[in-house]
């Protein structure tokens, strides 16, 4: 245990000084100017999108205006209009709200499934673990995109919730694996054994001992996932298996660029959405990376 290299000596110091949880994250954020900037920008954007969309009238925005097709950005339509004469800016805000909501919800549901199964699998091990892992292996090799596409063509009234449901079916596996491996490591730590010898029931150990120690990993993972999940429907929209057009999303806007005319000459229709997604993802990523660093420092504590 008298480990000797520099890392350990540094660890030693951090051991003494590291505060817990949120404080570390906050400190890490403050230290990393880029992450802080991203964080502020992100919060700003999200607040703006949600609050602003609250005041928007979706019916008004999605109203077809034949006299105003593909208008360039102007005073009325800040980002011009699309091929239905609909205001792109309004669609962008509502679309961003929808995409964000989808991203959040998918992240949430996949996390819920992934964490539950991952923790159970890792904590109990044995045949429970075996069964869950084989199940995950099975899902991992499924041609997800293909099955999603088949699924989409089956559901008649395909809407946001169906979408979230379908995505959640497939996207929890890597999370479950991550959580499982971390739980496996955590389970070997003496504090879990200690709790067992103190007569604490398993579910309590999982909920109140193990999970809090995984929280930083979970937060980091959720953040990074969120970035991915926001863009998740763009590809499907392109193939024509995305959300219905009546539900504006960033994906719908971006997939207008499939039409080369729009791509080359009507940049205002799709470029803002593409940039917004880029900025959102970059921001989330930078924040996520900062969180990751914070989590690593925490891990050294363990």
């Amino acid at each position: 245990m008298n480990s000797v290299d520099l890392n350990v000596e540094q660890k030693e110091t951090e051991k003494i000084e590291a505060p817990t949880g949120l404080a570390v994250i906050w400190r890490e954020l403050i230290k990393d100017k880029l992450a802080l900037f991203s964080f502020v920008l992100l919060i700003g954007l999200v607040l703006f999108i949600y609050i602003y969309s609250f005041f928007l009238n979706q019916d008004e925005i999605t109203k077809i205006d034949l006299m105003n097709i593909f208008a360039r950005p102007n005073a009325q339509n800040w980002l011009g209009t699309d091929y239905g004469g609909r205001d792109v800016f309004g669609q962008l805000i509502i679309g961003a709200r929808n995409s964000l909501t989808i991203g959040f919800l998918i992240t949430l549901t996949t996390s819920l499934i992934g964490i539950t199964l991952g923790v159970i699998s890792g904590y109990f091990g044995g045949w429970v673990d075996y069964v869950i892992m084989r199940f995950i292996d099975f899902i991992l090799v499924l041609p997800t995109l293909m099955i999603v596409i088949v699924f989409v063509s089956i559901v008649p009234d395909y809407n946001v919730f169906h979408f979230i449901f379908i995505m959640s079916l497939f996207y929890w596996t890597s999370k479950a694996r991550l959580i499982r491996s971390k739980t496996l490591a955590e389970r070997e730590l003496d504090y879990v054994s200690a709790s067992k010898t103190l007569g604490t029931p398993d579910w309590k150990i999982i909920l109140f001992q193990v999970l809090p120690n995984l929280s930083s990993i979970i937060i980091v993972n959720m953040t990074l996932n969120l970035a991915g999940n926001i863009g998740i429907e763009t590809g499907l929209s392109y193939l024509g298996f995305g959300l219905p057009e009546s539900v504006p999303s960033l994906g719908t806007l971006i997939s207008y660029s499939t039409n080369p005319d729009v791509m080359q000459n009507k940049w205002w229709v799709w470029l803002p959405a593409a940039l917004l997604i880029l900025v959102l993802m970059l921001c989330i990523n930078f924040v996520g990376q900062a969180l990751k660093r914070a989590a690593d420092a925490r891990q050294r504590l363990g």
Binding site: T20, A194, K196
Partner: protein, 312 residues
Amino acid sequence: MPLLKVDNLKVHYPIRGGFFRTIKDYVKAVDGISFSIHEGETYGLVGESGCGKTTTGRTIIGLNKATDGKVLLDTGSELVDLTKLSRKEFRKYRSDIQMIFQDPYSSLNVRKRVRDIIAEPLRNFESLTPEEEEQRIIDALAKVGLGPEAMFKYPHQFSGGQRQRIGIARALVINPRLIIADEPVSALDVSVQAQVLNFMKDIQKDYNLSYLFISHDLGVVRHMCDRIGIMYNGRLVEEGTTEDIFENPQHLYTKRLLSAIPNTDPKKRYENKKLREEINREYEAKTRQFFDENGRIYDLKPISATHYVAMP
């Protein structure tokens, strides 16, 4: 009647393989050991890494499942075989046996305040009002020489030795009679180690505790234990009082172990080396006398009232 009697305890782990995870073989981590611990006594379990000493300790407290054998606890009114209990049933006896872990860093949940760490067993076994609970925690902290202000701190705000003491406070708070100490000081620096060892001796006297002291460090064991069992390959090779073992080792393995301890007298280094070489030669020459044809260690046989050696 001893407080705890371990009778022919076996812990075998299956090695699984292939697709259907069929059992291919067993690792015999503990392969039939028996010993007992009396009230107020410190029993040392010594051996090199992988000899099964930790598994034994963990099996007694129910962290591992026993394959065979008994662990009988004298609860005062009856003898309970701990190996036969489910985890739920075991809860009744948790307050009799407690454990101290090796690594003071991983054995305390870094996310919890000291207060919650120590309160964990109380919340499991006793329904106390917050005031009562707080009093018990303060008492427990006082027992291990920490002030009540420690309650609100997190583990990382303490040194290794202090953390180990918090671990002990957690074990003590429900007034156990037996504490299994699994390498309690091997992760600590010498100076801190002394602190914890002294302190363990103190509370043993104060509360008439029994220890099962698991260690690979013969110096520490000699310092702490009344009786010692030497383990090798999942079996006991020799058992006796500290004096029996250190002054009159009988089994070759014990001798070899003792001779390997670096002597703190530099003047004796050549002497020691010679002794080691001699014992090694003897070990190689006489192995067959101490192990049966399968390489298994013989059962213990008494050579005096307190001293047992694994001989044919």
